[in-house]
């Protein structure tokens, strides 16, 4: 070591000294900053004060239940049981303090319910969703649905209740007289859980051929030679079944 040290030029020692001083300053600062500076208590205390000083706006479901027992009991078993009363009626702390003067609003038009129930691809499968434009236009939601225990009044009997666009297309096409169930086999469960149980679709050429093949006895339909027409393609690859073209 003693042999090595004199070989280094003198300015290197000065440089080392600077580094040592620098390290020393860091350690000194570390030593001199009192630990109380690192305590979070002061900040937490001020946060608590700030939060406490804020105006209370929501009363909570249990406060509503004291007076509105009937609605509370209906709601607690229904599909909306996990919603707070104030989700629809708005913040009601004022109402609990002065029940006669301050009345919380009740949404009675068609604008409010679609906030949750309008169709949106990102909502979970099975969540009740409607198209607000097509779903019983102009009727307020509460005419058919009791908001405290919402259930569909009854399952729609006709396909067009949900599939109105297909129905309207079909109505002006040569297939107007065909029922949807002529081509689609629809399990009863489809009306209960429409997304998980789906109706069938025709998958073979022979299915269309029953009416449109040359051998078919069905009157007044366009007839083709199934053996040569369209070769290997399935019919719906060229013809849209809900509005097949007319010659």
């Amino acid at each position: 070591m003693k042999n090595l040290l004199p070989k280094l030029p003198e300015h290197i020692f000065r440089l080392f000294l600077v580094f040592l001083v620098f390290l020393g300053v860091i350690l000194l600062v570390r030593f001199f900053i009192p630990n109380s500076f690192r305590e979070h208590k002061v900040q937490i205390a001020s946060t608590v004060e700030r939060e406490k000083a804020r105006e209370i706006k929501f009363a909570g479901t249990s406060a509503c239940a004291v007076c509105h027992e009937e609605q509370y009991n209906i709601k607690k078993n229904g599909y909306h049981k996990n919603l707070s009363c104030e989700t629809c009626h708005g913040p009601a702390q004022g109402h609990t303090e002065n029940p006669t003067e301050i009345k919380p609003p009740a949404p009675r038009d068609r604008k409010f319910c679609p906030v949750c129930h309008a169709y949106n691809a990102s909502r979970p499968i099975g969540f009740p969703q409607i198209n607000p434009v097509a779903h019983n236009p102009l009727q307020p939601c509460i005419t058919c649905h009791e908001p405290h225990d919402p259930k569909p009044p009854e399952t729609p009997r006709e396909c067009k209740a949900c599939h109105g666009e297909f129905e309207r297309t079909k109505e002006v096409s040569p297939h107007v007289l065909l029922k949807c169930t002529t081509c689609h086999v629809t399990p009863a469960l489809h009306k209960v859980t429409p997304w998980s149980v789906r109706p069938s679709k025709p998958t073979t050429r022979e299915f269309c051929g029953r009416c449109h093949g040359q051998e078919s006895t069905v009157a007044k339909t366009a007839k083709v030679d199934m053996a040569s027409h369209g070769e290997k393609y399935v019919c719906w690859q060229c013809h849209y079944p809900h509005a097949p073209e007319v010659r």
Partner: protein, 402 residues
């Protein structure tokens, strides 16, 4: 909630597309976080250009060696500033040195930065300039005399032995410096690349793409500075130096472009579930900044220009003009790259079903003006550094004020 915040959210909400989570409406990593990797990249790039001279003995680039080092230092000093401004409480930054957290990549930045600043850049500059500093301090008057004296640590040893020793140390530091520069900017890419919840960022290629874009931007910046400063001093631009730097820039742009293309094709081919929302993002939100500015103006156009320069024998003036245009376009492109990474990565929802938008503040601490100040500051620092460490003329002592 603070009323201004409600107003801001209400305004942003109108521009939200599809479905996003409530905490994704506002973009939290703002323009300051765009500026940060941009500045760091310039540091790494400028240093790598400097190391070409010392490690790879590229003699032509010698005139820009010291300028590159000083540029790297000026930008490195400012590099953590956007982070400090963004986080607030700058006095707490010191804590990351006292309570090292080895499990946090972000916390390790302090050490990467300190290593690079103290043990690479400052040391290299000190050893490179030491001999000149001693000579200057003997010939100058107050106050420069004392500034230089203090920087030399009052050492007057300019013997052949000491100078030879300095030269060896510089070479050693440069060799350590290259992996350190890679570490510094690769680290920034690593931060983004390791966010596994974000498919726009999460990629192992990220550090490498960052690194090469850093080299591109750093070289382009030094070329730009060289082309501006030298004529201002009434000197002649060394064309062989400029051609050589442009040549390195050309190769760096090609590598950078290929890497980004590879990343792009890989994402498309891999087609993970995020690909649809990323396509929407690129088409709806980043079209101008990604396709027009980053790719077309920032890469393809400068590449085309440089291919033309290589193919045809243009005269000096036209070459200078074309280089000048190219490096400005490249700077624009690389800034846009940072923008697309940082802002783009926050514009789509983690539900993969919606996009939000970024509304930049003008005056606030995260605003455009702060960002511009942070971008201009390194140039002011560089001007000061050029006064203290004049890089012109290698051996001749400076007699009067530059």
């Amino acid at each position: 909630m603070i009323p201004q915040m409600t107003d801001k959210l209400a305004e942003l909400l109108k521009q939200v597309m599809g479905y996003i989570y409530p905490n994704e409406i506002e973009i939290h990593w703002s323009i300051l976080i765009v500026v940060y990797p941009y500045l760091t990249g310039l540091v790494a790039g400028a240093f790598i250009l400097a190391s070409l001279v010392k490690v790879f003995n590229v003699k032509e680039v010698q005139p820009t060696y010291k300028l590159s080092l000083l540029t790297a230092l000026a930008f490195l000093i400012v590099a953590p500033l956007p982070l400090l401004l963004h986080l607030g409480h700058p006095t707490r930054a010191y804590e990351i040195y006292l309570t090292p957290n080895l499990h946090s990549a972000m916390a390790m930045f302090g050490f990467v930065y300190a290593w690079y600043l103290m043990l690479v850049l400052l040391l290299e500059i000190w050893f490179v300039y030491r001999q000149e500093l001693v000579l200057w301090s003997e010939q100058e008057k107050f106050p420069m005399k004392w500034i230089h004296k203090i920087i030399t640590l009052f050492s007057k040893d300019v013997s052949q032995r000491a100078v030879d020793f300095d030269r060896k140390v510089v070479k050693a530091i440069t060799i350590i410096g290259i992996p350190s520069a890679f570490l510094l900017h690769g680290y920034v890419g690593f931060i983004f690349g390791s966010v596994k919840a974000n498919p726009w960022w999460s990629s192992v290629l990220m550090p490498i793409v960052f690194l090469f874009s850093a080299i591109v931007s750093g070289i382009a910046l030094v070329i730009l500075l060289y082309m501006i400063i030298i004529p201002f001093r009434g000197e002649k631009i060394d064309m062989s130096c400029l051609d050589k730097m442009a040549s390195f820039l050309f190769y760096a742009v090609i590598v950078d472009f290929s890497l980004e293309l590879l990343d792009f094709i890989h994402r498309l081919y891999e087609s993970e579930e995020s690909i649809k929302i990323l396509t929407e993002l690129v088409i709806n939100k980043l079209f101008v900044s990604l396709f027009i500015i980053q790719v077309l103006l920032g890469m393809i156009l400068p590449l085309g220009i440089m291919v033309l320069i290589k193919l045809f024998k243009f005269d000096q003036e036209l070459r200078k003009l074309l280089y000048f245009v190219s490096v400005i376009l490249i700077q624009l492109g690389i800034f846009s790259t940072r923008w697309n990474v940082v802002i783009g990565g926050q514009m789509f929802s983690k539900s993969f079903r919606g996009l939000t938008t970024y509304k930049m503040e003008l005056m606030g601490i995260e605003g455009l003006i702060t960002a511009l100040v942070v971008l201009v500051l390194p140039f002011l620092i560089l001007a000061l550094l050029l006064k203290i460490f004049p890089p012109w003329g290698i051996k001749e002592p400076r007699l009067e004020k530059a």
